[in-house]
């Protein structure tokens, strides 16, 4: 490659990186500006640094509680979606029954509907059965968002595992259930990690359900908590940005931890 080509390529990469990373940089700048002074920032380089916003969000607001709530809700949502999604996906992949295709299509259709269109009926339903303003209600709401795709994804992963392996396992002494547990599930592990991350991130980032279905501050998730820095007359931008950065961290940690599971080639050598 010529020097100009190399230059252009790096220039393009730098431009894209700027677009992607500048907002995060700006979050960081605001979060480290003394409370109330972000409006008087001039230029893109900060001159005064402080970490007081980070300590204040934990001291003055129940940020720990909110993060913990988010972890509980997102963890339960992805665990439940994984459990139900993989068993449904396995059944749809392995057992032939009438209407399986229609069922798959129906699941997909539910994904086509925007969450905003089901939130009102869901609110009324939850109000009737007493799930409003509870964390289990929020988990159920989030599972309903995640599950259809979780089933589709896991069916796809199981479809890629040769059915001869299940046959062999059943001949070697497994029931259908233990064949799933000992053979299909370990082989689908990379896919399961992907589903877990998808479920976790979807639930973690959800604001609509969190904001609509729960109103007691001690049950808020962090997504809802961050909004509380915005008041009727003024907004605590600096603390809000600090909270947003803290909010983003766990997702990055989870992703880095589970990334190594998402490896190709787990199936090599099973057949032929």
């Amino acid at each position: 490659m010529t020097a100009i080509g190399t230059f252009l390529r790096w220039a393009a990469i730098a431009l894209l990186a700027t677009f992607a990373l500048f907002p995060i940089y700006w979050m960081l700048v605001i979060a480290m500006t003394p409370t109330g002074f972000s409006r008087s920032l001039d230029g893109i380089w900060p001159t005064v640094f402080t970490t007081e916003n980070f300590t204040r969000i934990f001291a003055e607001r129940p940020m720990t509680r909110w993060i913990l709530n988010s972890v509980i809700v997102a963890g339960l949502t992805s665990a439940l979606s994984l459990l139900v999604g993989t068993s449904c996906g396995y059944a749809l992949s392995r057992i032939r029954f009438r209407g399986a295709g229609a069922l798959m299509l129906l699941l997909l259709v539910t994904q086509m509907m925007p969450a905003t269109s089901i939130i009102v009926p869901l609110y009324i339903l939850f109000a009737r059965v007493g799930l409003l303003d509870t964390m289990q209600g929020m988990v159920i709401g989030h599972v309903s968002l995640v599950l259809p795709l979780a089933i589709w994804m896991s069916k796809g992963f199981f479809d890629r595992i040769p059915s001869d392996l299940d046959g062999a396992a059943r001949i070697d002494g497994c029931t259908r259930l233990s064949a799933w547990w000992y053979v299909a599930l370990p082989l689908a592990a990379p896919g399961l990690a992907a589903i877990f991350i998808y479920g976790f991130v979807t639930s973690w980032h959800d604001f609509l359900f969190a904001h609509t279905l729960v109103h007691t501050p001690s049950r808020w998730t962090a997504a809802n908590g961050i909004v509380s820095f915005r008041g009727e007359y003024f907004t605590l931008h600096e603390m809000q940005m600090a909270a947003a950065l803290v909010f983003a961290a766990p997702v990055i940690v989870i992703f880095v931890l589970m990334q190594r599971w998402i490896v190709e080639g787990a199936l090599t050598g099973s057949v032929r």
Partner: protein, 356 residues
């Protein structure tokens, strides 16, 4: 060690009939080969015996016990799959030991049994490896080991050699024969390869279109095939088939005319390539032709001879080859002629020559 019985077994997949009224008896300790072209239903038969598919009608027995509806794990069988179906996330030792683990045998007792089987199959150096680190032949052996380790009543083999190269295939064929001799279990072996069928079987069951066409000892099937299909399927190169007419109890093949005990009408005459003698000297009773192509196999050659009486070239097996485009005379050995009627079934025998 029980035998296996299929009693009027039928199988439908959706609307299509895959197996139709199949009854087969497999005596205990025998190695029986289900042979036939792909789609003849032989693998389905095996999968139903394994419990992976259920028959639509009929009964399957292992020993005296009807196994319809019994889950695979309770049938006391082991199966070697065409794809081997090794568990990719387990080592060779874990793969072989898996059936024992499922029986609830503790790991320290499993190890001994696994080691013994591995030694028997020459897999000892590979016990810690994963299937992806093995060659095709080694994977095949692991699959056999997983079957052997649990000492099942019945072994099932579903085209176990079809993914191996020719040399390895011959070698493992011998190993399977040895295994059968040593453990004496009932074995059912599915293949579309007639060489495997001929060399391994105590009994061959030939299937076509979901029905049993013939069953018997390999040489019995070879020397008196029940139908034109069986005649063409068993034996390589395939039997020569010539369609001709029976007229007043006589047939005419070129200038060869002989009496037959077959009613008048169309008949297919079959003759194996090794049952034709060939000469370069004009012979009054012979079928004249010209060598079109020669396949030299070393110890023997296959000549493809173009004749007037037959649209396809005749295959002739000879020990001393002749050059292509030689003019030759073919003399079928009368006692080795096979006759098949219009329905493909075997008929009558050749009688005396009418005149030379």
């Amino acid at each position: 060690m029980p035998g296996v019985t299929f009693e009027r077994v039928g199988k439908r997949f959706g609307g299509s009939l895959v197996l139709d009224d199949v009854s087969i008896e497999i005596p205990e300790g025998h190695l029986v080969v289900f042979a036939g072209p792909s789609g003849c239903g032989k693998s389905t038969l095996l999968r139903m015996l394994a419990g992976l598919d259920e028959p639509t009608s009929g009964l399957i027995r292992i020993g005296d016990k009807v196994v319809n509806g019994v889950p695979p794990r309770d049938r006391d069988i082991a199966m070697v799959f065409q794809t081997y179906a090794l568990y990719p996330h387990m080592t060779v030792a874990e793969n072989i030991g898996f059936p024992l683990r499922m029986m609830g045998i503790p790991s320290h007792r499993r190890e001994g049994q696994v080691a013994q089987v591995a030694a028997m199959l020459g897999l000892t150096p590979y016990l810690a490896r994963y299937p992806r680190q093995l060659s095709g032949g080694q994977r095949q052996r692991v699959a056999m080991g997983r079957a052997i380790v649990r000492a099942p009543a019945v072994f099932l083999f579903d085209e176990p050699l079809s993914n191996l190269d020719a040399a390895l295939r011959a070698q493992i064929r011998v190993e399977i024969a040895r295994l059968h001799r040593e453990i004496g279990a009932t074995m059912i072996y599915v293949t579309h390869d007639q060489v495997e069928a001929m060399t391994l079987a105590d009994k061959i069951v030939v299937l076509d279109g979901g029905r049993v066409v013939q069953e018997g000892a390999p040489m019995e099937i070879y020397s008196s095939p029940a139908t034109a299909f069986v005649a063409g399927f068993i034996g390589a190169p395939a039997m020569n088939m010539i369609t001709t007419q029976v007229h007043r109890g006589q047939i005419t093949l070129a200038r060869l005319r002989m009496k037959v005990s077959i009613p008048d009408g169309l008949v297919t005459v079959g003759i194996r390539p090794e049952h034709i003698s060939i000469t370069t000297e004009a012979s009054s009773g012979g079928i004249v032709g010209r060598i079109e192509w020669v396949e030299a196999l070393g110890a023997e050659s296959i000549l493809y001879v173009k004749t007037e009486s037959c649209p396809n070239p005749m295959r002739v097996r000879v020990s001393t080859s002749l050059p292509a485009s030689t003019e030759v005379w073919l003399l079928p050995m009368r006692e080795h002629l096979h006759f098949f009627g219009r329905d493909g079934r075997r008929q009558g025998e050749a009688g005396a020559l009418v005149h030379e």
